[in-house]
Structure formats: C-alpha cells, structure tokens
C-alpha cells in the first residue's frame, strides 16, 4: 500500500445497510489497524430495503431515509469507519453522469488501495448490479488524466466483491476468506444498530461461523471462528504465493 498516506479501504454500497452485513468485519479490521475505512452509500435503501418502516403509519420517503441514515451512521461508528450518503435513489438505483461524477469525486478523495462492492449479477436485486457497474466505471474514470483536472487521478485499486445473500445464484465464488475473529464484537455491535432488520443479526452471525469453519478447512489456523467471504475481481500482484 502507498506509504505517503494512511492506507484506505472504501466500500461502495448500493443501500445503506449492505456494508454492515457483508463487509463489516473487513471495515473494522482495517480501521483497527489505523487505516482509513470509508463507506459510500449510493442510496438509503429507503423504498425497498425498509420493509419494516413502511408498516408504520404515516411513513414517508424522507422519514424512511432519515431513519436509515441514523442507523447506518451508528453502525459505521461502531466499525470505526467514515460514511457518506449520495442519495441516488433505490428500487431502482440508477447512476447517471452526475451521479457517476459524484462517485468519482469520492474515490479520488479517498485514493483507496481497495474498493469493496457488490457482485456483478444478482437476479434478486439489480441495484446490486448497478452498484457493481458504477464502481468499475467510476474507478476507470477516476484513473483518467483528462477527467476533472482539479482532483488527482488514482492508481489501480483492487476491486473486491462481498458476499450476496444467495451466493450460488449470483455466480459468487469466494477466493478469499478473511479472518474477522479479532473484530467480530465490533461487527456484532454494528449489526445490532440495524434495528429495522434485527432478524438478520443471528443469520449473519451464523454465516460468519460457517465461513470460519471453511477458513479452517482451507488451511487457516484453528483459532478462526468468524470469517467473511470475498471474491477479488483483478489478479493480486505480490511477492508470495499464499
């Protein structure tokens, strides 16, 4: 990672909850190591990922957004991460040129070594696809010397897909099992901030245990109890084979 600044990890999240369940461990891990951990939420998930809220009488889009924002901010804080909201709308999430420019600005400001985002093709949720595509496209534009001469281009950050809800249906094949055992208490706290989706806390705790068992089976140390699964988009460049 670059030496002249704190290493940076940046999550591009379609909705304001995704980063907690899918990449909360990675964010906490890097934050704890002194890295700059950032989250860019493209939408609040106000229309489609707030089913609980809409059961309340008198709910409005603005209230839904505001409640989702408060939860996400609390979760980000629990993880030690910084969060930004672009409010591009959900169900559907559409990233036009103006939206893209804002994502590019976020990425150029972060100068990340690592971008985390959704899978390329989720049949259940096309907003995830839109976030994936926007991440690759914004990464490319961020590299262009001729784009917005007032901010500096970036290098070639790795892009890593986090685990979708139904991995096999999305073509997700993990090539990295990240040991998040040391920071799982922080992830748990962050998950507990998402009051509208509290039934998911046990679900994702169990998933982490399962990925932890697989990590041990794939040669990780016996001490691993919680892991997150990831799929890197680009080849890793390195000096070691493992």
């Amino acid at each position: 990672m670059a030496e002249h600044k704190r290493p940076t990890i940046q999550v591009i999240s379609a909705h304001s909850g995704d980063f907690v369940w899918r990449a909360g461990g990675a964010l906490a891990l890097y934050a704890e190591r002194g890295c700059d951990a950032r989250i860019t939420c493209l939408s609040y998930g106000e229309r489609g990922e707030s089913q609980g809220l809409w059961k309340q009488a008198g709910m409005t889009l603005e209230t839904a957004k505001s409640k989702r924002r408060a939860e996400a901010e609390a979760a980000a804080e629990a993880l030690g991460a910084h969060i930004t909201f672009l409010d591009l709308g959900d169900y559907p999430l559409r990233v036009d040129d103006a939206g893209l420019d804002r994502i590019v600005a976020e990425i150029r400001d972060a100068q990340p070594e690592i971008l985390l985002t959704h899978v390329a093709s989720d049949p259940y949720n096309r907003d995830h696809n839109a976030a994936h595509e926007a991440t690759l496209l914004a990464r490319q534009v961020s590299q262009a010397a001729g784009h917005d001469r007032s901010t500096p281009p970036i290098g070639a950050p790795q892009v890593i897909q986090f685990e979708p809800h139904q991995p096999e249906q999305c073509g997700f094949v993990p090539n990295l099992l990240l040991d998040i055992t040391p920071v799982f208490d922080r992830k748990r706290k962050a998950m507990e901030c998402m009051s509208a989706q509290s039934h998911l806390v046990e679900y994702y705790t169990d998933l982490g245990l399962r990925r932890g068992v697989q990590a041990v089976r794939n040669g990780g140390g016996e001490s691993i109890t919680q892991a997150e699964a990831y799929q890197r988009v680009f080849p890793v460049v390195g000096k070691v084979l493992l």
Copy 2:
C-alpha cells in the same frame, strides 16, 4: 506457514521440463528465502516432449530419459530446488494406484504449504490434466488418517495452477501475478539448461515481460519487470484483503 519446519513449496510436474518454464521463478524465489523448494516429475517427457532428441540417430527411450533427467537436474540446481523423478511414463501419462501411492509418499515427506501443478483441462496435452488430477487426488489421500499409518497426514495446502502454453484455450484465468524480478537471472539460467528446447528461452522471457507489464497495470510497483501468472484452486485464508 508452519513454524516448526522450513516452509515447503512442491511442484508436481507432468514432464521434466514443465517446472522450468512455468514455475521457475516461484521456485527460485522461495529457495532464495530459505524455503524447501521441491519438484516431483511424474515423467521425463521422454516420448512426447523430446522432439529434438528423436531426430538424433539411434535414440532410445532410455537415452532420451537420461538426457532429459540431466537437463532437469541442472535446471533444478540453478533454481536452488530439489528434484525427484517418478518415471511414470508420458504420452500418455497414467497414474494408477501404485503411482498415486508414490506421489502421496512424496507429498507426505514434503509436508508442503503450497502445491504447484498444471491446469485442469488442457486440450493440447492430456498429460497435464492427468498431473492436475493426480495432485488433487494425492493431496486428498495424503490427508487421510487411515492411509499408510507409517507416515503422517498433511494439512490443507493450497494448490496453484501455473500458466499453460495457450492459456485461454485451457480456461486459465490468473488470479495471482508473482513478481519474480529479483530472481529472473536464476530462471533464465535454468531455462538455458533445457538445451533440447532452446527456442523456448526467448519465448518465455518475453512472456515474463508481458506478465510483468500486467503486474504493474494491476497495481504492482513500477520496478516489476518479470512476473509469472498463477491461478489458485482454493480460497486464500488471510488477515488482509490484498
């Protein structure tokens, strides 16, 4: 890697030349770091990979084997690696139960953290497939508590495929570009030992340059000039995302 012994990297090579062109850099790199670098040649490539030799008058299988062996030993020495020959025959390479047991014995003796071998499906050369299959099968048998109680089972070493001659036709998609710049002189020396295939020296030097350019493009440092491409079979387990 395990701490009680020198870390070990082991190549399972279908023919006696494959390890030089495809994994010579990795072997040299690990040898230079004090690791145990081992090569297990399943055959000498005596029938199908010694086209030059067979143009010589009076060539016999035994002479072909012996010349191939001498070259491979010289190349292994140049890389700092230890080499063994199982002489299972080539074109076709067939691994029966006895052959499998010998590969298992080699693996249990090595107790490797990393196994390097061929791709799963090469339409040009089914011996490569046979070596791939034998590696996965021998790894599994090596783990079995009930197999050969006189030697200890292994853990769960990563298996990594090295680059075939025509990568796209073999479904090879690199997920690791290994920087071999610091040891390229050793790889070059090893390649030059393969007198029967001397035309390949420039070819694989050029390929290394091309993979080096890609390594830089994928975020590696500008100092990389030579790289080898690899595809890991199992997910990596780790504490970092890069």
Copy 3:
C-alpha cells in the same frame, strides 16, 4: 399458488409476436385450467419484426403497429389470454423510469405467481435482453414497500425464460420441458394468426415435436408429442424432488 385469487401467469414480451411462438403452449395450458393468463407486450415489434409489412407500399409506423396489434390480439384470444401493449418502441427497446413504472403497475395488478420472459443475453436481438432486464428490475421494484403506496407489493414470483430462436448462442439450457400436447391445437391456431410470419408456423410446430421427443427421453410419458422448453431463473421451492 395463492388461494385467495386465481393463480396468474404473466408474460413480459419484447415484441408482440414473441409470446406466441415461445410461450403459447404455457399460456393456453394455464388458461384452460382457469388461471389468469396475461401478456404484457413492451413493443409491437413494429420496426424490426415486421419485415413483411414494410414490403407493402406506403407502410407507416402507425399502420405497422396497428396490424401487429390486431394479430397479437387474435393470437391472445386463441390462447385464452389477456393482452396489454405498452408501446415502448423497438429496435431498440429502451425501458426508462416511466416505462419501468408502467411495467411495475402491470405486475402489481396481476400479482403473478409466474413471470415468463426472454433470456438474459441474445446476441442477435438486444431487445430481448432489455425485456429480461426490465422483468427482473420491475419484479424487484414491485416488491418494494416504499414504491407507489397506492398499489400492493408482490411476493416472490418465479421468473422463467422461454426458448430463443438460437438457444445455444444465447446460453439457454432448458431445465423444464413443459408438456403442451393437450393444448397444441390452440397454440397452432394462435400461430396461424401471425400472418406476417406464416413461414414460422411449421418451424415452431417442428421445434415442439423435437422438444416433445426430448421430454419422453427425459422420463416423460410416451403420450407427449409437443413440448416447450423453459429455463427457470430462481430455485424451485417444493415438497418433491421431481
């Protein structure tokens, strides 16, 4: 299927003829069983799927649309299905936010258990891709509690792809062969309504026979003579394995 209302099957068709050739049997079968069979045509196929019409002197877009509409209505009637036209244009078919909202309204009105549509990627006809994507996206938006509070969200209908003209080039792998033998006379009548494409009647009759032979080969009863091939997008949930 839901018990409080007639089960519903809904086809999302890029052009006004697609539903006849590709899903006519399914529509007739469900209609005959008393289900609500609906067709939503995103365009008339007026520019690109009416080659015969454009050979007539003085043809205009409006006349082409009107003729295509009349044929499609006759075909739908022959199948016992209800048909709607959204007139979003063809070659290219583009579904913007307003178009998407109209498709969502159609789906919420239908509350279907099954959505039938095109494959994800047809290299010959990108309108088919657009219809596939619109179907998945509209399904997702239709589920969102926060979208259009005046109409009720839907559940999780299965999405099933019908057979494209050149299946292998489109990545189409049938996982369902539907026996349409009992209603083939209706499908034939519907096909005969498509006067502009009358050469296709024999072609699709033959295709049905071929799929019927395959149905028998895959364990269906000997009485099957006509079948349609389908590929489900989502896993089936059930109490039986067959």
Copy 4:
C-alpha cells in the same frame, strides 16, 4: 412416478456418512410417504472420513469399516431407509468394471425414479467426483437392453446432486430447495447416530435453517424452517411451470 410399484428414491453415496448430512431430509420425506428409500454406499469412508477413529489406539481398517457401518445402519434406520454397502474402498474410491456392474445391479433392482448423488467436481474430494461419474455411467448401463439379460433395464430416472460442503467451490448452483421441515426431527436423529462426526450436527442443522430462510425468500410458505438444496442434472418434464 410409476404406478405398478412403490416409487423409489436411491442415493449413491461415496462414503457411508454423506447421505445423512446431504440427503437425510429427502430420504426421510420419501420414506414417510411410503416410498422405497434406498442408500448404496460405495465405501465406508474408512480411511479418509474416520479421522476420529484413527486417533484410537489399535485401530484397523476392518474395525473402522465395522464402526462406520454400524453408524450408517443406525442412521438409515432413523430415516426409514434401506442401506447397502459395496465396500469399493475410499481415498481413493475407484470404480472398475466389476464395481460398476454391482452398482448397475443395485440400480436395476431398485428401478428408481430418482437418483441422488454428489456433484461432478469437488476439488477437495475426488471420491465425490468418482461417485458422480459412477452414477451417470451406471444409469446409462442400466438402460442398455444388451447388458445382463437376466435383469430388466431401467427408464430415465432424474439424477439430482446434493449439496457439497463448500458449494461455491464445486460449481454447485441449487435449482431446488426441498422443504424438509416435517421430517427434520428424523434427520436430526440420523445425524446424531454419526458419533465420529458429532461436531457436524450443529453445523448441518444451521445449514438447514439457512436453506430454509432462502426457501421462504424464493416463494416458499412461511412455515418452512428446514430445507435441503439440490441441483437436478436433467430437465424436469412436467405439466406445470412451478
């Protein structure tokens, strides 16, 4: 299913434990409905799947087999299924012509409508591949009029792959989520018979819950709490789309 005899479901299992964790629910479900539920174990998993046993002093292959057999018989009984052992050996499992003939004899005797077996390619365990291949090959030979004229050929039973331990690494994409809620107590009892692998009981109970949640998400009724995931090899032939 055929009407002249009890419908039959047959599992072809590489090792004597696989059927419990991966298809125990399906077996119990079909047994409870009065079907003939059969298990054909190709090996006992005596060498490679009995790690606990080999920690006991004086363990021998024969003792390991005998203990594994007793456990598997108890588990089969708990599920209401009949079990046979072919004792072809494990790690590696190799099916030669004689072994194949015995599998064919089992299949012809069972005349199954459904065959359940392993995935085609499991990088961790090639015995699973061998069982998959043997199932497809034995099915084909069982259909041949000219094979063993003393037993009757079979029809065209569906072949269904059950879930491997690390599904994404095996290319497993479920296209069927089977509701096993009504028989989960039987599956749990069967799992508890596998004393050598007792740590897996909770693991597979949790996996069943996760597949149950997915079943509900894919349109199954809210009452589903336990499911098993399956991938059918052949197209389903039917009269319905769901």
Copy 5:
C-alpha cells in the same frame, strides 16, 4: 491442407451409428470432393444402442454386433467413406492402453487434417465422453516423436465436435454451420441404412432443416436448406476472418 496426399477427414465414433446422424453430411461432402473420408468406430453400440435388436428372440452379442456392422458399412458406402471397427465394447466404452494404441495407429495411418468426434461431456451417455477424451489423447500421442518409431507422427489436426442429441444439456455451442445441401440425398440414404433406428430418419432430417434455417440467418446464402452444426475445439488458423 497438405499437398502431397489427399486431404483426410476422420471421424472417431463411440458407436457404429453416431457418424451417420451427426456427421454424415460432412463425410459425404468431403468424399465428393475427392478427399479421403474415414470412420473409426470404437464399438458397435451392441449393448446399448441396439434396443430394437434385443427385442428379437435369441439375440446374442455377436449377432447384434454383426447386424450393426452391416448397417454401418452400408451407411459408410452411401457416404463414400471408409470404415473401421475397433470393437472396444460399449456401455461402458473403456479405452485402455492397448485400445489407445490402436486408435493412434488409425490416426497415424490416416494423417488427417480434421478429426470429428463427440462432445466432452454428455450427461446421458458417458461413452461419448470416453470417445472425446480418447480422441484428444490419441491425437497427442500420435504427435509424439518417441511413440512407435515405425509410424510417422502427425501434425496438429483440428478437432471438431459434432452435435449431440440434446445439445444444450451437453454444453454444445455451435461455431460452425456446415452447408450440406448438395449432399443431403447421400446423407438421407445413409440414414435409411440404419434399419434398427428408422424412427430417427425424420428426426434428423428435421434437425438438418432447422440448422439450415439458422445458417441462412447467420449470413449463409438463401439456397441452404440442410446444415450440420459443429463446434471446433482449437482456434482456426487462417488468412481470412470469415
């Protein structure tokens, strides 16, 4: 193609009927052009592809083989091709080292520019897989300078897969549609020689029509009425793009 001898096309056929239905047009086309068209039948299909014969009283393996042989010879003659039978057995077809050596001898004798064979993976019929694998392996061994010094090695013939019965289930994606219109009468005559499978004559006539329609749709001339679909294994090397 080589200039010093007649260009040669060689079919490696698992059973004695496959070449007629799947590659009869290609054989007739090349024969008519003065090429050497050869068929190597690995088995007679005596056990599994002679269902009609086994309904006759007193049928034996030898009689089945002899009838199948007679039919295949008549069909080959109708196509203008030369045929050889290796009698390696079917259901299952197993190619051991001796069998492989015989296939190699056939290939070295033919010195073909083109090898036609089955797909790599047919879930319905593993003999097809065995023939595919044997073809690739025998091609490789035929190239080896050190194999059987009494016969000359071959060059690098293209390998082309012909169409299986259920193409989508076998991963078959045609990249070549061969116009067989001028020789279809010969193919029809050859098909009519296969009296035990006479129901297939209409089926494959219809399939040829369908592939012919696709050929026209893919830019072929309007005069094409019959085509065969093929998938090349290796890249074509040429001086033109079409």
Copy 6:
C-alpha cells in the same frame, strides 16, 4: 461475400487508438486485397487514453482530441483504411439514441460483411463494453426494415471481437488466429504513428510474435511469424470444416 460491391470490413472502436493495436493487421490485410476497410471511432479517447498528452502544460480537451485524431488518421492511412470519428466522449463512453442512430447510419452506409469490435466485458475499461453493446445493438437496428426508410437495411454480418489488453480477465477465448505476416510492416508503421503511446509498439510486436507461434502450433504453416487473435460472436456458415 457480396459480389455487387467491394467486400467491406468495419471496425467499431471505442477510442481512436484501439483499432491500431488490436485489428491493424486485419485492416491492412483486407485493404491490400482491395476490400473496403473502414474504422468508426466512437470517441478520441481524449480523457482517458491520452495520459501522455495531459502531462503537457495547458492541455485542453479540444487539443487532446485534435492530436489523437491526427495520429489516428495517419495510422488509418498507413493501413489503407478509411476512418470516421463520432466524438461521443470517453471515460465514460455513453451511447444514447442519437449516438446509436449515427452508428447505424455508418453501418448501413458501409454494408459490411464483417464487424470488428471489443469484447463484451472488460473489467478494466467499461468503454469497451459500451462499444461492444453498441455494435450488437446497431447491427440489429441496421437490419430493421422499419428504421430510417431512406437507407437500406443490412444482412447478417459476422461480429468478431479483437484481443483486449488482458485477455484472460475479459473472458476472451480466441477461435481464430489470423495470419498477418504479409502486412506486418504496415501494422508496424501504423503503430508508430501513435506517438503518445510509443511504449506499446514493442509490446504489441511481441504479442503478434506470440500469437504467430500459437498459429503454427495450431496447424498454420511454418511461415507465419505474426498473427492477431480474434473471437467470433456468431457461428460461421460455410462449405468447409477448416
């Protein structure tokens, strides 16, 4: 190819340099044979593919475009090809309805037998995807009888993908190796026109050599020293198998 006019090959290039490195040989080859070789540049690559230019003081978009245009015109002239610029913008390249109509007009004017363009999915550069999609969509619209009645529809030209920078990461599997040995001097001259990217000249010369070696290995004549790799999208229709 059509006989009433000169055969035409048309490249649809995302940026103004792509056609040189990736299809320069094909263009020169066809031009030399008297064909009409055309290039349609969707953008100049002014923002993202002119990194060198943007290091110059006072660079502006207009200057960058103008310099890129001059280079591309010189390269096209060296190849004997005609070039057009649509100036749709880069990083990101977006093709709206107006842009699509202009591409359609170019294609209808050219009436090409062959369209060359980028791969479908390049994770490094989404402009390449946009160009691929625009090519397929414009081809389809160009075929529509009802589109722009003042220009004639086209037939069914083949679409061929040229080689991306990192082929394995883009799913590129060559099925054609084009011998460009006779025109390599022209390609080299064209490459040397691209002064802003002069470091690429050696890189692509080396790549051509590597593809040339592969062409020989795949059965091409020994005289091939330079080749370009291509992947056809549609099946070839022909009278020969090679």
